[in-house]
Each structure stands twice: as structure tokens, then as C-alpha cells.
Amino acid sequence: MSWTKKDLLGLEYLTPEEIELILNTAESFKEVSTREIKKVPALRGKTAVNLFYEPSTRTRVSFEVAAKRLSADVINIATETSSVKKGETLIDTGKNIQALKADIIIMRHNYSGAANMLARALEISVINAGDGWHEHPTQALLDIFTLKEKFGKIKGLNVAIVGDIAHSRVARSNIWGLTKLGAKVTLCAPEMLLPVGIELTGAKTSSDIDEVLKNADAVNVLRMQFERDEGAAFPEQLDYYKKFGITEERLVKAKKGIVVMHPGPINRGIEMSSGVADGVNSVILEQVTNGIAVRMAVLFLVSQAKEARQ
């Protein structure tokens, strides 16, 4: 099959075949980063713009590295220094970037749906690098890519996602992607951090982390954003660590060979212990490496898109 979408907005909008195509494309791009000269000309002459409305280092740098390894020119726009501060609307900003004849906008935004809106308004490609609580598709794709490398397949895997599901775009994208590919997803969190109706995605829910770890082939540990001030109920840090923190003691009782993932940056001693983060089960740094390959695949595919979205 060939890729037809000009944008990547979320995994909810993709078919299993499209997700597989990204993963397979990423597999062939992964080798590029192992070369002496880590560059291919696939996107030579193309311009990718990193448009970040939220502070981000790892995702932005990962996209920048990916685009550069494909020979694209990369421009970074940080909103603190742009006309956004002067009150320009998102669509106007996007149209200006389009008028510069850029080819791809990679956007991080604090509002859910911002990428969908921008993609509708523009002819050029929009890649969602995280929008509000909605989706963070490339993070989920690199998580799934890492799992596929470890286990050879996704179908039938038991994957646990632990932490603040309610406010997590990483969780949502992982749920869509994993369930579409036939994995069984269990969400483990305090009741107050499970969003309404989440089980309608096909994921199961639990508040017993030890029970969940017994059956999980992999556990994806979300970052607890205690700095978030929503005015809503939020668990106390130490209490959370006691009940849901991933520790060496917990892993002893977990399924043998369990793979531990984290989208980063880690709060050591809050959602997982340092020993686990640096331990044999952890694939956290492999995720970072795989992020380059997956983002190269996404950049390449959207720039090949034949069919403009509306």
C-alpha cells in the first residue's frame, strides 16, 4: 500500500495497515543512524518547520535530527520569540509558514485539536507533535516500534499503561495504536486519573498495579505532571509512588522479562525508581533512538502523500 494522508494528526485516524506501513518504513530508516555518514537525500530541498507552542526539548530535537538525517532544511519557531506573542492566530501563523513555501509543519500545542484545525486550514503537511490531552502520535509509534523490536509482533501482547491517563496524550495515542494492532491494553491509575468512558476504546482499567504487572509483557510508565495545576483532584506524590510507582520490588513479582518504557523526562522516585529506570528491563534510551527512525518515516511518508486532505 502507499501512504495517502498529507498529515499525521493522531493514531485514532489511521488504519492498522497505515500504522504498519509507518513501522516498516521506520525499520528501514533505522539503519541510517548507524552509518558513518548519517544522512540520506530523501527530503533534500524540503523545508520542515518545528512550531512549538509548549516547551519541549526531546520531541523537538528528535524531529530536528530526523528531518536533518533526511536532508530536509529545518527551521525552529519558538512561540516566545514569534508574532504569536503579538496576538497572531494559529491559522494565520500556519498560512504564513505555508507562504514561505515550507513543506511540513511539526506542531506542539497546548490545546487539544489545534493540529486538526491547522491541518484543515493548510495545504501543506501537518505533523502533530502533541496537542493538549489529545494525541502524541509519534511518541506512541516509537513506543510501538520498540515493542515490536523486542517481541517481534504486537498482536496478543499485554501492555500496561500506568499513570495520569486522564491528562495524557501519550496514553491516548498508545491506546489507539496498540488496540488497532491487536494488543491488549490495561490502564492502571488512581480512579481520579482515569477519564470518563475510556474503556470504550477497548482498553481495560485497573487500580491494582501488582496484579497488572503480573500479566504485562510491557509497562509504559507515564510522566506524573505534579506541576500541572488543574484545580482538580490529584494524588499526593509519596502516596502515588507507594501505590503505583514502578520499583525493583514490584518488578520481582512482575511477569518475567517485562519491558519497562517511559516517554520521558522521568521523575525519578515519583513514577519509577532510579534502579528501574537504569535497570535491565528498561528500554527508555532505545525508545529515544527509535524515535528518530519513526519520525524519519513519518516525515518521509507525509511528504510523499498523493492525496491532499480536503
Binding site: Y111, S112, V196
Partner: protein
């Protein structure tokens, strides 16, 4: 100036009429309603196969003037009303300045007298500047001509102050219309709390934030002995609470809006900000309850909650976009499609919800085709489909989720106080119409402006 409407299916619930009849209008009033009227009128309208009914009384309209003329004006909103078969609107008071004193109401009345195309009644505020802190002078508002008071857009959070308001309203003989929402519960929510808010990653608004306040408002009304009207009912629990209150004999009436019986949260597929309304689009379960409430008379009225916003205020991130949609020009068609075609209501019942009951609730002399009544009439081709084209929208704002959709039920004529204020130009002009074509409005579907002065 006389108008004779021939051969239409006349629906006049007040007089229990649903039959083919002729109507003669003379001196701005209905002068005869009979099987066969032979009269040499100045204008003859052939209404064969059309519905002829009292013009809609829309008791929930945001005119935006004074203060937000970029969104809508009295002129543009009433033109939109005329196009939608609406001959009377109740202007919500959340303008700048708010309708909280005699001076502000006189200012609006002056604008209405100059520019309104249909009848406009004014709703005052419950509290000064709708702040929920200090009551407006309710007796003065009544005296100057307000027919109801509401802090629409906000609820008065203090139960004590709201109780005082009900007591004052009773004393003044004015109706309180409640925007029932507990903002401590709805918070920063933007759509219904449910799977769809989870899916889209948007903050949810629970049914609880509405029905708990409906409960409180009804209880305060009951204690004060004042009637109360609940605006824009959207959820099942509210319908149940109002049903129970009515059963108990409490003087409570309520309205819903067409979007609550035609759309659900599931229709917000891709962050369409024109679907962002308050209260939010609810679930299918709620929609079914709203339809049942309309059928079993718990819900008295249908009102548009016409809420114009500019594209600048809608074409932005969902969280930042304003709440509200326009509805004057789509309300009738949506009601026909959802309620008549789906056999929830018959025509007489629909006209009761659209015209008769709102007039009754507001205590105004509208919603009937009785001889001697002001000639406010809509003539509707109920089977005619049309595309709700953005370019055709008379309202200054275009924020409708129905734009581009094929809808059914086309307003062919709107007559207000005996004058044709709207005629659908895309309809074939009958030969009998020649007098009209060369006279009052031969050129288009644009409503005729400035010929009608408000009565209030």
C-alpha cells in the same frame, strides 16, 4: 394594504384549526379566516400545499446590539428572524451595556424602533451587569417594558440573592428565565463530559452542572411563589426534574433548542467549533429524553438560543472559541425534520412549541391567527429541501453547524404586523403574486427593512 392568503393548510392551535382555509389581512390585523374568501386584496398569495401558521415566537435570541455590532445587529438578526419564519424575538440582555436599567433598555428600544424587521421584546437582567452581586431594579425594568428578566450566560450563584430576585419578580409580575448552570461544576469544560470529551482530550461539562441548578432554581421559585422558566434544557435529568415539578403543580415552564434534539456529542467529530454550545451537545440518551419531553408536554417551547459570533471568535482553537451557534434561520427546518418527519409532534403541536406557548409564557399577544390578532404569519413549504448555504445566511455571523447541509422546510413568506417582511425569491412567483412582485418586494429574498416598529 390588504393581503389574501388562499388555499393554505392553516394551523392555528389556539383556535383548534388544522384545515385548508383562506386568511384575509387588513389594517395589519387578521380580519377573516374562512374556507373560501373572495376579496380583491392588494396582494394575493397562493398558499396551495403550504403550511400557514402563526409566526414563530423565539424567546431566546442574542441580538448583540448594543455593543457587539460586529457579531450581529438588531437589523441583521431580525432580518434573519424574518427569513426563518420568526415574527417575534425576545432579546437576551447580555449586551454591552447589559439591559439592567431603564436607560439601557431605552437605548435598545430606540435601535429597535429604527431597525427591527420583526417584533422585538426585551429581556432585562436579574442582577446589575449580570454580575450576580446586586439585583437590578426589577420593578423599573418591568415598568420600562421588559417582559422577562434573565442573567442568561450566567446563573446567579447565590441562592439568597436568587430567592430575593424571585420575590421581587413576583411583586413586579415579571418572569424569571434561568440559565441553570453551576460553574463550580462545569468549570472550564467545553463539551459534554463523556467518551467524546475523553477521545478529543477536551474538558467535560457534566449533566450535573445543569440539573442541580435547575433543581435549585425550581425550589427557589416554588418557595417564593413566583413562576420560573428554565432556558435551553439539554439533559435527561433536567427533563425529569421539570416533569416532577410540573406534576407537583409548581409554575415552571421550559424551553429547549433545536440542536439538543438534532445533534449529540458524537457529532463533534473533528473539533467543529460551531458545535461548541452551552449547555453542550449531550448524549443520544439525553436527546431521546428531550424529544420525549417535547412530546409529553414537559418541554413547553422551542427557542433557538441564536448566538452569533464572528469567524475570528470561532476559527481558533476549540478551547478558546466562544460558545454558541446561530439558529434563527435553521430552527424551523430542523424542527420539521426531527419532530414532524420523525412523528414526535404533529403540526399543531409543533406550532404550539414554536409560537403559542412562548407567547403564553411571556404574556404577549402573539402566536395566534384569531380574527383581530396582529397579522404575524409564516407560510412554509414543509416538503421543500434546500441547502443551508453560507452565502444565504442573513445573520451577520455564520456560525452554524448546519451550513452546507440539506435541510427541509422552506419559509416562503413571513408576514409581520400585516407586512410581508420576507419572501423566498427562489420560489416561483405565482401569477396572482404580480401585485406583490412589482410592489413591496419583487427583487429578492432579502427581508424588507424598517417597515415595522416594535410594539413593546
Amino acid at each position: 394594504m390588504s393581503i389574501l392568503i388562499k388555499n393554505g393548510r392553516v394551523i392555528d392551535p389556539v383556535n383548534k384549526i388544522d384545515a385548508q382555509m383562506d386568511i384575509l389581512i387588513e389594517q395589519h390585523k387578521i380580519s377573516r379566516v374562512a374556507k373560501q374568501i373572495n376579496f380583491s386584496a392588494d396582494t394575493l398569495i397562493d398558499a396551495t400545499n403550504k403550511i400557514v401558521a402563526p409566526g414563530i415566537v423565539d424567546m431566546h435570541v442574542h441580538l448583540r446590539e448594543p455593543g457587539r455590532e460586529d457579531k450581529e445587529t438588531v437589523g441583521s438578526a431580525t432580518a434573519a428572524a424574518a427569513k426563518g419564519g420568526v415574527t417575534t424575538v425576545l432579546a437576551m440582555p447580555n449586551t454591552y451595556p447589559a439591559m439592567d436599567c431603564a436607560e439601557h433598555i431605552e437605548l435598545l428600544q430606540g435601535i429597535i424602533n429604527k431597525t427591527a424587521v420583526v417584533n422585538v421584546f426585551i429581556c432585562g437582567t436579574i442582577t446589575k451587569n449580570r454580575q450576580g452581586q446586586e439585583l437590578s431594579d426589577i420593578l423599573v425594568l418591568k415598568k420600562i417594558g421588559a417582559v422577562a428578566i434573565s442573567d442568561d450566560g450566567c446563573s446567579v450563584d447565590s441562592a439568597e440573592l436568587m430567592f430575593e430576585a424571585f420575590k421581587k419578580a413576583k411583586q413586579a409580575g415579571i418572569l424569571i428565565i434561568c440559565h441553570s448552570e453551576d460553574k463550580n461544576l462545569s468549570g472550564n469544560g467545553v463539551i459534554n463530559l463523556g467518551f467524546n470529551s475523553t477521545r478529543l482530550g477536551l474538558r467535560g461539562i457534566s449533566n450535573e452542572s445543569e440539573y442541580k441548578r435547575v433543581s435549585r432554581d425550581i425550589e427557589l421559585a416554588e418557595r417564593s411563589g413566583s413562576p420560573v422558566h428554565i432556558a435551553h434544557v439539554s439533559c435527561r435529568e433536567s427533563v425529569d426534574i421539570i416533569a416532577a415539578a410540573k406534576h407537583k403543580g409548581i409554575q415552571v415552564t421550559c424551553e429547549t433548542a433545536p440542536h439538543y434534539f438534532s445533534l449529540t456529542e458524537e457529532d463533534i467529530v473533528d473539533y467543529d467549533t460551531n458545535m461548541k454550545v452551552n449547555p453542550p451537545l449531550r448524549t443520544k440518551n439525553d436527546l431521546v429524553a428531550i424529544k420525549a419531553g417535547l412530546k409529553n408536554m414537559v418541554i413547553d417551547a422551542i427557542a433557538s438560543d441564536h448566538a452569533p459570533h464572528t469567524e475570528n471568535e470561532k476559527d481558533i482553537e476549540f478551547d478558546r472559541a466562544e460558545f454558541g451557534k446561530i439558529g434563527l434561520e435553521s430552527g424551523l427546518a430542523i424542527s420539521i425534520m426531527e419532530l414532524i418527519d420523525k412523528k414526535i409532534l404533529n403540526w399543531s403541536e409543533l406550532v404550539e412549541k414554536l409560537a403559542v406557548n412562548p407567547a403564553k409564557i411571556l404574556g404577549i399577544d402573539k402566536g395566534t391567527l384569531s380574527v383581530g390578532a396582529p397579522a404575524d404569519i409564516m407560510i412554509v413549504d414543509a416538503n421543500k429541501e434546500f441547502v443551508l448555504d453560507k452565502k444565504s445566511i442573513a445573520s451577520k455571523s455564520k456560525n452554524s453547524p448546519f451550513i452546507g447541509k440539506i435541510v427541509k422546510g422552506s419559509v416562503e413568506y413571513t408576514i409581520c404586523n400585516g407586512k410581508i417582511v420576507y419572501q423566498n425569491k427562489s420560489s416561483p412567483c405565482s401569477a396572482m403574486d404580480s401585485a406583490l412582485a412589482s410592489g413591496a418586494n419583487g427583487t429578492g429574498s432579502t427581508p424588507v427593512r424598517g417597515i415595522n416598529k416594535s410594539l413593546c
